[in-house]
């Protein structure tokens, strides 16, 4: 079973008991959001508001089909708007 480590930004940490990261099983960004919402229902409003995912430093805001490589560094960040 392949688990990936997902780092959380500050606002999400209280929802997982203060942990800086969680270990989940997900192959794509879409699956990750689904698994997180199921395991930690408190995350749903944040995910709905908009979450960006950094995979090895590259930021993805929209492509939910993007695959999550096993040893990649995965970071959740707020979705920043542009101007």
């Amino acid at each position: 079973m392949s688990h990936i480590e997902v780092h959380l930004w500050g606002a999400l940490r209280p929802l997982v008991g203060g942990a800086l990261s969680v270990s989940v099983e997900a192959k794509t960004i879409r699956e990750l959001f689904r698994v997180l919402t199921k395991t930690y229902p408190g995350m749903e409003p944040h995910i709905k508001r908009g979450v960006a995912v950094a995979i090895n430093g590259q930021i993805y805001r929209d492509q939910l089909d993007t695959k999550l490589p096993i040893n990649a560094e995965i970071y959740l960040m707020p979705r920043v708007p542009g101007g």
Binding site: W9, G57, R61, D62, T66, M77, P81, G82, G83
Partner: protein, 753 residues
């Protein structure tokens, strides 16, 4: 989609050439049509009644006399906007911002609107509307709004992220934290620690074209709207939702846009015009006045920042801390949080922390302004780095180079960086002739860096090859600065045809799938990517047609230099077919030639810039003049170098205005004192020198040509670069933006005294 080309050595045929833009002639002859330039038969003029109070309860609105005035065809209030938002607080805030419901939250908040046969009648009608207000105490400054006893704007906002959930509603809506390491330990290691507080005042994007729209709603629920906007699809979706219209029945056409910079990514007047038109059953034109643009649209935040930074004598920064407090105006947002994310992003620190505090206040709801939140943060951070460098005796530019983020650095906002360009821009600055130029008396030089995320987003492009072999391309991303030229270059490059054979237009919302707004520096990046894929799809179609014509397998047909060619010795006698040949014969080979692309573009690439500013400060008047300015920034690949330079120069000058003159001045009565260009002073031609630019091209591996977003980063460094220059010219650290002459004189006097 695989980016299979070696982008660094790729040789382009037309990309990188400085071609004339397709809308150029229309714009120099006055033929181009902007938001206020369209008219429809029978159209009415709309005007909006706005609150003169910064904070009040609306007890009663009596519109009866206005409705009876001859020539008035419709009057609306919030009663004409049922709540269709279905619990979506964000959309309800938008609706309430467009038209006040139970309370007004800022000077200028809309309370009613009228549509009449002419402006004079509309003005008279506004005077006949009677509003009964209960005035409430107000708060405009962010540090006051954060106090627990500040006048409360909303009773549904509870502070998030600052410990356990509070029982009491507050204006302090959110706290967040970013960083890593142990800053206390880091400060203990430092030889020198600098602590300082900074302030920035609210500014406006300052686009020269006021918001304007022309709306026409039919009794059957279909509607059309002509509007200047950075995102006609988003406007369509939001207006339809707020008015209870089906999105597919509201056809929004984007006019040419006279500037946006993030300020035309939100709706204000558009739902009002649609509602008036629906009520009057006539087209309604609503154009804001300049005063309304300043008072009642979406400026950027005002902020207050505390920085603490520690370094050792060898120039290593051992700990960096910032607390950033921003106000988002009267509805909650996360601008301070975004400031906290970008603040230390240029650097590689073992111990770094930024804390953000967002608060609401009685000011207009803030909107994005070009790299929103980042210029404000950079002002404080870059000054702190400059100050600690001087304190340990290290050259500030060398200190930045020493501490710069690189591939493998853990960013201050979390993820580890891949290949990034800050090192190259700093080196380019170090080697730039500007750094060696001698300085005149009373002149100081400032160097500063800036960072921005850049975005991709949903993008659609439709490409059609016409029967005569020329190409039309319909895109959904608004052209704010010349992107139609860049997109035509991309298509010409892919197809192997001349730039003049490709014509790009911006299509309306009924003609294309959804497109995200032109913001986040995504215009050229994502539209060009979609255009390239659309062109490649069209090439496949044309190869198929050639294979049919020649009766050979598709694999034997290649596309080269604008022609289908049969490869292989057995097809040696087949003359190549040009686009014109294939297009002229399209009917016989299966029909019209089209290529389209619907993508979600991500990875526009983070971008870094370094600016060098020379400022002369008159010690008697405090007046500051920019004597030399250089922008160095990575563009990945400059599709049209002139327009990339234009973004660098334009963004830098907006930052210069913000640094030296621009601010919202609120009186004690909570009213905006300077809603006009006379007293909201943006830079004019005589204030500035030529702005030198250096485009670095470190390809973005996530775009077929290596393009990065460029539009926003140029505004991030100037507040810092100019303030550091003024600091060096006067010997006094500047901590309050804008550095207007009175502020500079006061700082000099205080320092001397």
């Amino acid at each position: 989609m695989s980016m299979d080309t070696d982008l660094v050595t790729k040789k382009f045929k037309v990309i990188g050439t400085r071609v004339a833009r397709p809308d150029g002639i229309d714009k120099v002859t006055g033929r181009a049509r902007f938001g206020a330039d369209a008219s429809m038969p029978g159209q009415l003029v709309a005007l909006v009644l706005r609150s003169p109070h910064p904070h009040a309860i609306i007890k009663k609105i009596d519109t009866s006399k206005a409705e009876k005035l001859l020539g008035v065809k419709a009057v609306i209030t919030s009663a004409d906007f049922p709540d269709y938002t279905n619990g979506d607080r964000g959309m309800l805030d938008i609706l309430e911002n467009c038209m006040a419901r139970k309370k007004v939250y800022y000077d200028g908040h809309a309370v009613a609107a009228v549509a009449a046969i002419d402006a004079a009648t509309a003005r008279a009608a506004l005077k006949l509307i009677v509003v009964d207000y209960k005035i409430l105490p107000h708060v405009t400054e962010v540090d006051d709004a954060l106090k627990h006893d500040s006048p409360l704007l909303h009773d549904h906002i509870f502070t998030e992220g600052a410990g356990p959930k509070s029982e009491k509603p507050s204006n302090y809506n959110k706290q967040a934290e970013y960083g890593h390491g142990d800053i206390e330990a880091g400060f203990k290691q430092a030889d020198v620690i600098i602590e300082r507080s900074y302030k920035t005042e609210q500014t406006h994007q300052g686009y020269i074209e006021p918001h304007s729209c022309l709306a026409s709603v039919s009794p059957d629920g279909s509607a059309e709207m002509w509007v200047c906007t950075q995102g006609h699809f988003v406007y369509r979706n939001q207006c339809a939702a707020l008015l209870g219209l089906d999105a597919n029945k509201l056809r929004v056409t984007a006019s040419e846009i006279g500037g946006g910079f993030g300020g035309k990514t939100h709706i204000w007047a558009e739902p009002l015009a649609l509602a008036l038109s629906r009520k009057a059953n006539r087209p309604v034109k609503l154009t804001m006045s300049r005063e309304e643009v300043f008072r009642c649209t979406g400026p950027t935040s005002a902020a207050s920042i505390d920085v603490k930074i520690g370094a050792t004598k060898d120039g290593t920064i051992t700990a960096a801390f910032a607390e950033l407090r921003y106000t988002s105006g009267c509805f909650p947002a996360n601008w301070a949080e975004f400031g906290a994310m970008t603040a230390w992003a240029c650097y590689d620190f073992k111990n770094v922390k930024s804390v953000s505090k967002d608060a609401v206040s009685n000011r207009p709801k803030t909107a994005a302004y070009r790299a929103p939140s980042a210029p404000i943060a950079a002002f404080a951070i870059e000054n702190a780095i400059d100050e600690v460098a001087k304190a340990v005796g290290v050259d500030p530019l060398e200190m930045r180079i020493k501490n710069a983020a690189r591939e493998g650095t853990k960013s201050s906002y979390g993820p580890v960086y891949g290949p990034i360009g800050i090192g190259p821009t700093l080196q380019a600055a170090k080697n730039h002739p500007h750094m060696k130029a001698p300085l005149a008396p009373n002149t100081g030089r400032g160097v500063a860096c800036g960072f921005w995320f850049n975005f991709g987003g949903q993008t659609c492009v439709d490409l059609n090859v016409t029967p005569d072999g020329t190409v039309t391309v319909a895109v959904g991303t608004m052209d704010v600065g010349g992107s139609r030229a860049s997109l035509a270059l991309a298509v010409a490059e892919e197809l192997g045809v001349s730039y003049n054979d490709v014509r790009v237009i911006v299509a309306d919302t009924s003609s294309l799938g959804h497109n995200d707004m032109t913001d986040g520096s995504r215009g050229t990046f994502s539209s060009s990517m979609a255009a390239i894929f659309a062109a490649r799809n069209a090439i496949t179609v044309m190869r198929q047609k050639a294979s049919k014509t020649w009766e050979i397998p598709l694999e034997d047909v290649i596309w080269e230099d604008g022609h289908a060619r049969a490869k292989g010795a057995s097809h040696g006698n087949l003359a190549p077919l040009s686009i014109k040949d294939i297009a002229g014969n399209a009917g016989a080979t299966g029909g019209p030639i089209a290529g389209h692309s619907e993508i979600v573009a991500d990875n526009a690439g983070v971008s870094f810039g370094t600016h060098i500013a020379d400022c002369h400060v008159d010690p008697e008047t405090g007046q500051t003049k920019i004597t030399r300015y250089t922008v160095i920034q990575d563009a990945g690949k400059a599709m049209h170098p002139s327009y990339v330079e234009g973004q660098y120069q334009g963004g830098a000058v907006q930052g210069i205005g913000w640094a030296l003159n621009e601010e919202y001045v609120y009186g004690k009565n909570g009213r905006l004192q300077n809603p006009a260009f006379l007293d909201y002073r943006i830079p004019v031609c005589s204030d500035l020198p030529f702005i030198d630019t250096q485009i670095l091209e470190i390809p973005n591996p996530h775009h077929p040509y290596g393009v990065r977003g460029v539009g926003e980063t140029p505004i991030v460094p100037p507040l810092a670069a100019v303030s550091i220059a003024v600091t060096n010219a006067t010997g006094v650290r500047m901590t309050h933006i804008p550095m207007s002459p009175p502020r500079i004189l006061k700082a000099i006097k205080t320092h001397r005294g």
